[in-house]
Symmetry: C2
Subunit: 355 residues, 2 copies
């Protein structure tokens, strides 16, 4: 029996997660899976209930689970509360507490949605990049950090820090994944300015020796931000630190024009993982039943593939999503003339049906 | 008499700077300017001559000058030398020693080159963004930094640090410049994770009180990287720290498709400045006479505008550049069928002639 914890979160989180659960139920039936589901509050919702965006009870359930399906968190309601209680902090603590150091963010262009991209068709058609972002280190978690007084004024400071072993383990994940794809890894750094990334470049280069079939290249982060716009198809797997990964994965996601379609996985050493859509909690459309559940449904597919080692189920979910797209079903965010606009629930039901 | 120091640097630097000087000579004649020119080595060229990418003699000349026209630096030849001697370090020390804290990077789409963009025409036509990047602080210069031993392994670390006064003075530059444009400033931070940028957001918000006509907005850096791809025309002036500015300005530059066309200015408190093209030293095409000198020529225009307070001369240079583009002259990097391919020198001569 596999234990999956559902963390709906805030904004559109509950609606989209509900549709992913619908698809999960359909997958259970079709494949005879043995799954137990539990649910817990996280983010602003948890703060409202327990005064904490990651209550102890939620963290305990997360520790016990084999995999976590996460909706989305945050909203203007919690933007002004004490820093440590904000929804984002709950997510950061969850990533860190569970050791979810490997963040996998695919940027894939669905041929059915090619028009949605702001880039020319020939630049992005067939785009399929995987960004591997280190998720539990770097400047996100580095100490010392804070705001201090100095010479009569305030000074803000943060520390970007990575150890060799942290660098090596994320590099390995990138090399392993590239081996299942097109055997190319581009490591992104700012080694010409930052010592921490100078070491990064050295360690990644050294780690590559165990992967003679992988072609490793290095790129400065400013150049990578340019190359993603100029010629994104030059990339297969990109591996980088927490902050650069945050920036570049969002940039890469937007190349597809449909961020509502992009899933992500955050894995620990044992492939236990947290799965969440790349998009945010979209408080402006929450509760209206118009959000796109497909990124969450495809996050479920990643969950099947990586944590439950059921690539067959993942493939079937992915195929079901493609099928409803081929049928012309679209939520509002990906709607174009000539297609059929459907609600969050209709979309979820259609994928479950196709499965 | 105005003193301008020429720092040709490496790669294509000398070729492109030579054409900018040709245009400067033409401007001198037409406008009766009184200018003294001097030249000094910098970057790899200076390392080869003096063992230092920023020799004392070059720095002294830079201090004495009213403005500096800079080519480009770096190349594979110097990639493996001792870290502190690399060409980039010379440039960083120059920025820091002269207090050039305000880096202005326009991203403008030339209608004549609209096809060069990898983005759809409607997304970028008429694009005109100004990125104001803080250039002498942040993680580029923060202490402590380095690589240390810890628990039997190496750990790399850097410090991102900004004082209130540093934040306030760059914010002011952005507000002033926005006042001469479309009165909009978007401040980019990662205030939901990094304390240093939380303070940034607060200080920029406070500084805005002196500029009631400017509309200030805030955006997280990951979202900014996305929005630049999705809908870049929503921006007027973007203000941000050193590292985010490095990344976002290169991304924005690439939206235009012709990085060979983009100039930049780095100003101190008194509008003394260093002017350089946004593109790099392109060692692969150096010495072939095919590099595009227009970014350097437009950097000269910025020099006229900001350091010499000769907006009229700047406008004339800019108009001359537009004129040769209208005539269909193109260097190899911006060549398309139906236009006339010219050399670096022919392009420089044509602009000088048009002036
Ligand atoms: C919400 C925020 C803390 C988070 C991050 O920066 O990691 C988000 O942008 C993401 O990429 O998952
Ligand atoms: C060469 C390098 C140190 C420099 C920087 O990072 O500032 C360059 O990328 C730039 O943007 O001018």
């Amino acid at each position: 029996m596999s234990h999956i914890l559902i963390l709906p979160g805030d904004g559109i989180g509950p609606e989209i997660v509900q549709e992913a659960v619908r698809v999960l139920r359909a997958a259970e039936q079709r494949f005879g899976l043995d799954i137990s589901l539990d649910e817990a509050p996280v983010g602003g919702a948890a703060y409202d209930l327990h005064g904490d965006p990651l209550p102890e009870s939620t963290l305990n359930k997360a520790r016990a689970a084999d995999a976590i399906l996460f909706g989305s968190i945050g909203g203007p309601k919690w933007d002004t509360i004490e820093r440590d209680k904000r929804p984002e902090r709950g997510l950061l603590r969850l990533r860190s507490s569970l050791g979810l150091f490997a963040n996998l963010r695919p940027a894939i262009l669905f041929p059915q949605l090619a028009d949605a991209s702001s880039l020319k068709a020939e630049v992005v058609s067939g785009l399929d990049i995987l960004i591997v972002r280190e998720l539990t280190g770097g400047i996100y978690f580095g100490q010392p950090r804070g705001i201090r007084e100095e010479n009569g004024e305030r000074v803000g400071f943060n520390t970007d820090v990575y150890s060799e072993s942290e660098m090596r383990r994320i590099a390995k994940v990138a090399f392993e994944l590239a081996g299942q794809r097109n055997n190319k890894v581009c490591s992104v750094d700012k080694a010409n300015v930052l010592e921490v990334t100078e070491l990064w470049k050295e360690v990644v280069t050294d780690a590559a020796k165990d992967y003679p079939n992988i072609e490793l290249s290095h790129m400065y982060v400013d150049n990578a931000a340019m190359q993603l716009v100029r010629a994104p198809k030059q990339f297969d797997v990109i591996v980088t630190g927490n902050l650069f990964g945050d920036i570049l994965s969002d940039e890469a996601a937007m190349l597809t024009g449909s961020i509502g379609m992009l899933p992500s996985a955050s894995l620990d050493e044992n492939r236990k993982g947290l799965y969440e859509p790349c998009h945010g909690s979209a408080p402006d459309i929450a509760g209206q039943g118009i959000a796109n559940p497909l990124a969450t449904i495809m996050s479920l597919a990643m969950l099947m593939r990586y944590s439950l080692e059921r690539g067959d189920v993942a493939d079937a979910i992915q195929a079901a999503v493609e099928q409803v797209l081929d049928q012309g079903l679209r939520t509002a965010d990906i709607y174009t003339e000539g297609t059929r606009k459907v609600s969050t629930e209709e979309m979820g039901a259609a994928v479950a049906e196709a499965l």
